[in-house]
């Protein structure tokens, strides 16, 4: 009965809604929209405003407008440029490596085998523990020169955090983010249509060819999302650096979030640290767009093989 009733209803396109209901339809959206604008956009605009001021909390009453001077100073600051480079290296390497590892693990998990559920549970655990706990754990139990497990296994008494500070931090970040990438890619693998895969096999396509021309293009959305989310969070890495190396030795592992934190909360230079904040926003947008572009191009090529 209902079927016959609904049948004719489906055919015409949705009737155009009268103008007056527009606001009523928009109403459920507005609280969230206003809340997010208030809490995320206003502080950012204030940051932009501060970035044109010379203002150091150590010198009360020193606040005045200086135009672009802060930006000039920031770009002349070699420590800032070092931190910028570290941020780019940290983000690009960590996203790339954890995405690759995640893809490998997801492919390994996308089969029936003994204890599959247990293995998946084990693999996602690094993503579930507190990042602060993970960072401290790697700093002490793993990387300690005399009592750490890394030196126990490989011998020697390298002080990893002093000798390879950025690589050590990246190891921890990759360890933390690989499970997240794996989960997303696994979802993508399990969502692909079995019929297409079987058809490819019937047509005599080899495993590698099936992967390159069917699986990979189908995964591209998942890979893009994983890369984008990963990049957004890893650009902001603060806990690992704060807890493992304090940006050191010297400034060897200082990234932008940590440098801004130092300038604002230890140097009390509101103007300059705000200018850096604005630069980080621009940089993040560039990195995110670049990552996406790169990935789109990669997958255009591989889908062209089809």
């Amino acid at each position: 009965m209902t079927a016959t009733l609904t049948e004719p209803k489906q055919r015409p396109a949705a009737p155009p809604k009268p103008r007056s209901t527009g606001w009523r339809r928009r109403l459920p959206l507005l609280p969230a929209l206003f809340f997010v604008i208030l809490v995320t956009q206003i502080p950012f605009l204030v940051t932009v405003f501060y970035s044109f001021q010379s203002w150091n909390l150590v010198r009360p009453g020193s606040q005045h407008f200086v135009g672009l001077q802060n930006y000039v100073d920031v770009f002349a600051d070699s420590q800032f440029r070092g931190a910028m480079l570290n941020t780019v290296v940290l983000t690009v390497v960590c996203v790339f490596v954890s995405l690759l590892l995640g893809l490998g693990l997801a492919l390994l998990l996308d089969r029936q085998f003994l204890g599959r559920g247990v293995v998946r549970t084990l693999l996602i655990t690094p993503f579930l523990i507190l990042p602060a706990a993970g960072a401290l754990l790697w700093k002490t139990s793993m990387f300690h020169p005399n009592y750490g497990l890394v030196n126990f296994v490989f011998g020697g008494n390298t002080d990893w955090l002093s000798a390879f500070p950025l690589a050590s931090v990246m190891t921890q970040v990759v360890w933390q983010w690989t499970p997240f990438m794996m989960l997303l890619i696994l979802a993508g693998l399990q969502g692909q249509s079995k019929e297409v895969l079987e058809a490819a096999q019937v047509d005599g396509a080899g495993r590698w060819r099936t992967f390159a021309s069917i699986t990979l293009p189908q995964l591209s959305r998942y890979l893009q999302l994983a890369a984008l989310l990963g990049a957004i969070y890893i650009v902001n890495s603060f806990d690992a650096i704060y807890l493992m190396t304090q940006g050191g030795p010297g400034t060897a592992s200082t990234n932008l979030p940590y440098y801004i934190y130092q300038r604002a909360f230890e140097g009390f230079d509101i103007g300059q640290s705000s200018a850096m904040g604005v630069i980080v926003v621009v940089l993040t947008l560039i990195v995110a767009t670049f990552t996406l572009r790169l990935m789109f191009r990669t997958f255009d090529v591989s889908s062209g093989v089809k």
Binding site: T2, L27, V46, F113, P126, L225, Y261, G277, V280
Partner: protein, 275 residues
């Protein structure tokens, strides 16, 4: 025939490889759990000690160091934030999917773009504003910030679940004279409930583990568990077992929730990807 058995061998070795990698990945955490049951003497040895006499001493020690209030703050912030995200996010997701407003894609794009705004870019004004509002070292400052931080992703995820609701079912119910609340409760809710659960889970994880705002805006009064862990960077080397116990207790709630809800987690994340 030989190809077959070679295939089986290959499969078996892949399985072994998978297991080895999984164990390597989780080993640091296993080690943390072991260390948390050691005495400080057993925790700080060379070579590292695998066998030892387990003790609960470290858990007692961190409770003496005042761990519980931090745990309470974390729980309060996480629960209130998740509820707020759902209260604000569910209607927004509805307005962007089932009864889509004009400019839906713009609104979605805006929400997503706020995620690209690095937290450091806003911390200075947020600090000054919190100070003026007397919200420094106050859990509500964290609640407001975490809600705004989680809302975009939550709306995005929930929208894709809402899009799963069959249009015909809603239309049919309308024709049968169902009112909006009935449609919401009887038709839409059953379909989207798993999605809402997955979204809530993501909110819980990100609120519980957030570090930057917590460290910069709170201290002894409103500090969450990551702030408690920061106390260990100065005394590193002396209290490894205590640190492991604290790290374990701090991570345990999210770890357990995540383990039990991993299917929801996978589904929730993947829905966001396809739509």
């Amino acid at each position: 025939m030989p190809a077959r058995s070679g295939n089986r061998l290959g499969r078996a070795s892949l399985t072994v490889l998978t297991w080895i990698i999984a164990i390597l990945f989780v080993f640091p955490i296993v080690w943390m759990v072991l260390t948390s049951f050691k005495s400080e003497g057993d925790a700080f040895t060379s070579p590292p000690r695998l066998f030892f006499e387990p003790t609960l001493e470290q858990f007692g020690n961190i409770l003496d160091r005042g761990f519980l209030p931090y745990l309470g703050n974390s729980a309060f912030v996480t629960v209130v934030c998740t509820v707020l995200v759902l209260l604000l996010g569910v209607p927004a997701a509805y307005a962007l999917s089932i009864a889509p407003v004009r400019g839906t894609s713009n609104a979605l794009g805006f929400f997503l773009s706020t995620k690209m705004l690095p937290v450091v870019a806003a911390i200075i004004p947020l600090y000054v504003i919190s100070q003026n509002l007397r919200l420094l070292d106050n859990v509500w400052a964290l609640i407001v910030l975490y809600t705004a931080m989680n809302l975009p992703l939550a709306i995005w995820m929930m929208r894709s679940f809402f899009l799963e609701v069959p249009r015909e079912m809603i239309e049919a119910a309308r024709v049968d004279g169902a009112t909006l609340p009935t449609v919401l409760l009887r038709i839409i809710l059953p379909v989207v409930a798993p999605g809402i659960a997955a979204t809530a889970l993501i909110c819980v994880i990100f609120s519980w583990t957030e570090f930057f705002y917590a460290v910069n805006l709170t201290a002894a009064q409103a500090g969450t568990v990551p702030v408690f862990l920061v106390g260990f960077i100065t005394s590193e080397g002396l209290y490894w077992a205590q640190l492991s116990a604290a790290a374990l207790l701090a991570s345990l709630p999210v770890m357990i929730i995540g383990w039990f809800a991993q299917n929801h987690l996978v589904r929730g994340l993947s829905m966001g990807a396809v739509k």
